[in-house]
Amino acid sequence: MFILMRLPYRATIFNIAGGEPATLWKNGIASILAGGYSYAYDVAVSGDDVYVAGWAPNSSGNVYLSVATLWKNGVASPLSDGLTKAQANSVAVSGRDVYVVGYVTNSAGNSVATVWKNGVASSLSDGKANANATSIVIK
């Protein structure tokens, strides 16, 4: 007889002073999602897949030009180009479709509320003023 011990999944953000990377705990075991100072804001589970939304520094390590990022089972998919600051706030899964919401900063310096469906971005706001999409649910 097997007794399966299961411990928590957790997506965490780290304290600023420590500057530690975004981490997902799966069954108590920590997985580092990104190097440097980074955030994980939301976690969703679909079947055996675990999705985390957050941000990571860009390819130059610049945290001020953060890349909106979706991690699927620990593997990062950048959702923005790292040329302007962006962030993923929330993730939801519907069937085989994965939706992420957050913002991307435009050339005018305004944050544009954005939804990504399977990695393809659509703007929710017109970019004339700051906007942000913070949470998503699907019915």
Binding site: R6, I13, E20, L124, A131, I138
Partner: protein, 215 residues
């Protein structure tokens, strides 16, 4: 005749292809309704917004200042959003149900509602209540609008996320303690109000997802 037959065969083939394409569309999953909350500036000031399938609608607010909508939950046909509104240092006081606000605070304390979820007909909101008399945050669970404090450290607590599994309510957050004169945040999971400290200090659990028996 041979040419006609060939053309007819191609036509039939094309018709079948279109038919199959139509059938595939019919059997594909129905289009989901997507609810997104956040904020935008549609009328000269920042306002909380609910996008339903990409169509924005403003959640009107009582105060003419910054509003953020930061969490959304569905229960049947009801849509609940928690709104963070900065007004005279009284934050995040509203839970919205189908566009109508319900105050979570008596207005005398700084209240932050960090997450909302539903289970059946019950609505759970978690957040913090800042008690100015003792300068301390206290993690709060509102179940159907009734507030209850969660146990914290000697320097308070805060709650960031809530999930419900069966009859169990799990809340993630942090307990604050002063240890050897140093402010320390201990990441915490409350199960039905009973706290268990997680191993690392100064780590803030930000979201929980349930998969089967996992938390």
């Amino acid at each position: 005749m041979a040419n006609f037959s060939k053309s007819s065969a191609i036509l039939v083939f094309v018709i079948i292809l279109f038919h199959l394409a139509g059938c595939q569309k019919d059997v594909s999953p129905s289009n989901p309704t997507i609810y997104i909350v956040g904020y935008d500036n549609l009328s000269g000031r920042q306002e909380p917004i609910l996008w339903k399938n990409g169509i924005a609608s403003t959640l009107s607010t009582a105060y003419a200042d910054v509003g953020y909508t930061t969490s959304v939950a569905l229960s049947g046909s009801d849509i609940r959003c928690r709104i963070c509104q900065c007004c005279q240092w009284v934050f995040c006081r509203y839970l919205w149900k189908n566009g109508l606000p319900t105050s979570l605070s008596d207005g005398t304390r700084i209240v932050t509602a960090n997450a909302v979820t539903t289970s059946g007909s019950d609505v759970y909101v978690v957040g913090d209540n800042y008690n100015t008399s003792v300068n301390m945050y206290s993690a709060i669970l509102w179940k159907n609008g009734i507030a209850s404090s969660l146990p914290g450290g000697n320097n308070g607590s805060s709650a960031h996320s809530v999930v419900v599994s069966g009859s169990d309510v799990y809340i993630s957050g942090a307990m604050y303690s002063v240890i050897n004169g140093i402010d320390t945040a201990v990441s915490t999971l409350w199960k039905n109000g009973v706290a268990s400290s997680l191993t690392q200090s100064d780590v803030y659990p930000n979201a929980i997802a349930i998969s089967g028996n996992d938390i």
